[in-house]
Chain length 252, copies 6
């Protein structure tokens, strides 16, 4: 039995609250179990220097945790004067993942800033960030299309992420909470599109390893979880849900 009574292949309860913050072009509060992340998408009318005058846009992400999002208070990165390696890895991952399903030429010479701020953490903050950021991004695009800033719909596919892992006793499990994550032998983050393609796969055995068979079982679990996340995303996006590439029937 899992620590919180879930089935091995069961997601925690998911809730995506849209327009949680008034200023950003797109914003959501995504809640997955006890993990809560505010995801916002902000439009800036210019691109970083390396992209200037190429007629295409950019998507970049930043990730942070409130100091007391966790059981023990963390020192703020602004107080330390630098961003940790973990934060950098996560924000690079979020940006890369979102860029994979956006036609950057259709957003024009603009930067979309994705901010993922974890206000309460209980495992899976990076996958929740990606899943929520996708919705915030779509909402921001919607606003830009309404105002005429963007005229061709640039979102190529759905995108969601989930963690899977191997517990020493229970075997492969879906959507690890903090306690499960701390004791898991193997931890894998899977990011997939609505059409069932992988965008990113990061599997790590910290002081442990995993076999090809185990990998296959983890990927099955991940696909199941991600399909359920797509349903939540569609509900949150509303009338725009069908503008995004319809998912092949076999997937849902």
């Amino acid at each position: 039995m899992r620590v919180d009574g879930r089935q091995l292949d069961e997601l925690r309860p998911v809730r995506i609250e849209t327009d949680f913050i008034k200023h950003p072009e797109g914003s959501v509060l995504i809640t997955i179990g006890d993990t809560k992340v505010i995801c916002t998408a902000s439009i800036e009318d210019r691109v970083p220097p390396f992209l200037r005058n190429q007629g295409k846009g950019w998507i970049t992400a930043e990730y942070s945790m409130l100091p007391r999002a966790t059981e023990q208070r963390n020192i703020r990165e602004s107080s330390k004067g630098k961003v940790t390696g973990r934060t950098m890895e996560i924000q690079r991952l979020i940006g890369r993942a979102l860029r994979s399903i956006v036609d950057l030429e259709k957003i024009g010479e603009r930067t979309i800033w994705i901010d993922c701020d974890v206000i309460q953490a209980d495992g899976g903050t990076r996958t929740a960030s990606i899943t929520g950021a996708f919705v915030a991004l779509v909402l921001a695009v919607k606003k830009c299309m309404a105002s005429g800033k963007i005229d061709k719909f640039p979102i190529k596919d759905y995108l969601a992420a989930v963690s899977v892992g191997i517990d020493q006793k229970l075997g492969e499990i879906l959507d690890l909470n903090y306690i499960e994550d701390s004791s898991a032998d193997v931890d894998m983050n899977v990011i997939m599109t609505g059409s069932g393609q992988f965008v990113e796969l990061q599997g790590t055995g910290e002081e442990a390893t995993f076999s090809r068979d185990q990998l296959n079982q983890l990927l099955e679990l991940a696909q199941k979880g991600i399909n359920e996340l797509f349903i939540e995303q569609r509900a949150a996006i509303g009338e725009f849900a069908d503008k995004i590439k319809v998912l092949p029937k076999k997937e849902l």
Copy 2:
């Protein structure tokens, strides 16, 4: 008429939601108009070096804004690698104010970390932070007393803060929102105790000045607003409300 239809001496709607975040010893989401701040109080069982072995505790505060709490996205201070002067001023102010109404000897050799994270900003974030942080602090103390960590009630008085200012056309006004704050000639933050004493007074004429008479009128407005905030704080604190020094009748 004020930009949002309020009377000159009218506060924006105030709401204090307790236990907003699960991990901290005390936490609230304080909403004042469109300004929303998560305030948490965390207990650490040691004091900074300069206080060691003196048998007393410490209260310190940190303040931050999410990048998109504001109309324009702000660069994160962690990305800049340093905290701005404005942030430093505010967090020093919050810490100082809370220390003034706590008997630091009664909390023992502990540090109470106050974190104020603005998730949506519309003026008055520092005064909302102080007003909310007071409640988070009381909740944390309550928890420590329940667990026996602290045995004597250390809160000496209520504490709340409000902004007042002088508008070129309207004259003295209470609780400025962002638009009012941007155009005000004079901006003053007033922090008071439940017994009607000043803890801190910061009045600034940016490219303007103010007379002794105007100061007196600003202080009257501030007292009115703060008395109303005390009522909200008492409601949020619940059964502990009367453990804190009863306010002299003339004040409420």
Copy 3:
């Protein structure tokens, strides 16, 4: 009796030495008791980015202490790699105060850098900095007018600052030295114009509070001290003294 034998409402001896340093457009060494600050005003022929092409200038200030200005040697902020919160607060205060009495359009698209370097500290360094910086500023303006850089006199009023405080035994006192400042219950910095208006008021009760009556008595003391500082400033400025808005008789 005060620790240095002064009356409760007595300033320490004040001396303003002009042209103390040869390179800056304006410079003074201001001595108030044992507090000594070198204040310089430097003209730069451009404004910060946020002000470009608006036809007006800017005044900004920096403040620092020599490491051994104090009883204990302080670590240099350049060695720490960052400026402390206290320094930031003070330099923001100095800049804001000076901007309040200058017509920024009359100085054109220029920045006036005010540098206040404390070479010996005995309390009241921020108020001495403001009082001295005002004179350095006027001297720099004088030079710019002589060279034709500035053609309309931009100084709108006198400006000086003083500290007042409440001593547990003596009550309200004027111009606190370091020992008095360390033990005072309440510390207030008051910045006023020659016409008796407040520019900034910062009163703080560190682990203490103050009443409305005490506030009023502090303000009386401050007005007295500031009037005396104006006399020193006028003497230092020389022939330019009368170009600045004549002070209403009742004030002097």
Copy 4:
């Protein structure tokens, strides 16, 4: 045909030169095609604070490039004053991978510092670093066993890493050089043990995605390449080669 004439499943020439630098306990120069990395292993007789008094050791890695290891000169991270996100990701990966095949209790309360300094880069620097660092680590352990510092052999298995990717025209390819890496749709780094287990799997589609079938083909290629790297490592390690867990015949 590949840009350098290789077969799709062909590694570039590999050379592992041991004892390249005289001071470190273990050091190699690993050359894979035109990629050259100096890998050293240094023993420090203490562990980081979070591990003290637990009777086990730690392995941590740092990674850097000489400024002109690349076609365009890179700004040194020491000049920038901070380490980039890419560097942090890589050094965290190297450390994690090596820890997975070492029995940390057998090295005692010591830290093994792995330094990977790329002196010439042509793609695959992180996988070359891991493959070379494994050898440097074994050499350092050898020295510690000779001197009696470590008495039980702590290496649990072989460890090597390789990159695989998907080229738009050629399909799946092994061991990408810089040109191939720049134009690949999908890039995957695979780290495996001598017993055929995965230690880490990082597959990324930058503005592209990949299917389950493609993943399987990439993993086949990676296994082939890694088996060849094990042969080079065994040769470099010399008499110690057989002290490490014998590889099951089916793998080689």
Copy 5:
């Protein structure tokens, strides 16, 4: 003729004002022409970690310029967040030079902090700093001997520094001011003891070179200048002048 009318081998007017600042154990204001440096010596009752428990002390120096010590305002190093290479070179030089004439065992496990703050610069700030710091150091030692902190006189010899250089038209010149320094082909700083030994010699041809003969002439000039500085130092030190190793007659 030199730009300020001096002879080729003539020092600028030198003045050493002792006890310029009240808090430090030793302090001077040294004025050499238009160069003015506040030098202080502070005693700290502990040594840096690398010297602990060795029964000897340490001398370290810091150097800084006020932003407007120069013709153009310099950005403060505290604002930049780092110390420039030039500053580091100078402060390392000052510390090294002073350590050469002090018996570090006689000062016990103490650090003497030398702070040299240039308040007005006109060339030769590093040599003026050394010459002035020597006097501040002796004054601090005097105070420590009076209070019994130090019981054996630790100063082994006099120490002073001067710059010499080669002007394209005038040839070798002594004690360059800023204009001379800017146009000189060769610049050399010479630090010597009272007994005529070299402590440090730093000669640089920026986009120029110098011959052995020129070197010899520069060293003659330097010796002459330094002998004159010793006379000023002796006067400043007062009754302690003769406690320091008497200078051989031929030198003065």
Copy 6:
């Protein structure tokens, strides 16, 4: 007898390997005894801001050590977030020295970046860096002349550097290794041109001093060593050796 059996005036074995790294315009691995430095010269087609539009180029240098170039592992400067004073001194020295023998107008508005990365250290790393960097610079110039980027040969003279020092027992010695350097009373770095002129002279007595006679003997030793380094440089440069100002016979 010297610790490694050399004569007092004997250089360690010198080897200059050209084109050690493939990407840079010029690169060498210089080995002097056990000191090994990779020196590269990179051409950038622009100059720093202070030189723009003046029709001349710039040469700047950076210096670093691999963490385990030394007996004890050093913390990387990128991890510390800042460059040490020692590194800054050395890189300023290298840049200055190379600029002295290059006609900067002949290289046009270009920056030549010199990178000296010590991969193994045994004393004399800064002098080896200069000696090697000179060759890398000539190789880069050669490439630029071949491609037509530079049309007039800009190298005015040879340049090499060596250390000399005074050992308490042996007296003056040439080319100190690490052990000798650590125990020497006096350490001097001498940089000379092929025509026998000094470019830079830095002699330091750390807690010691030296006389005029000793200085003269040190300079004789340095000249001997540098003449031998010129022979190695000529061999490394090949056909270009005679394009550089022929050395007067008396020198070799």
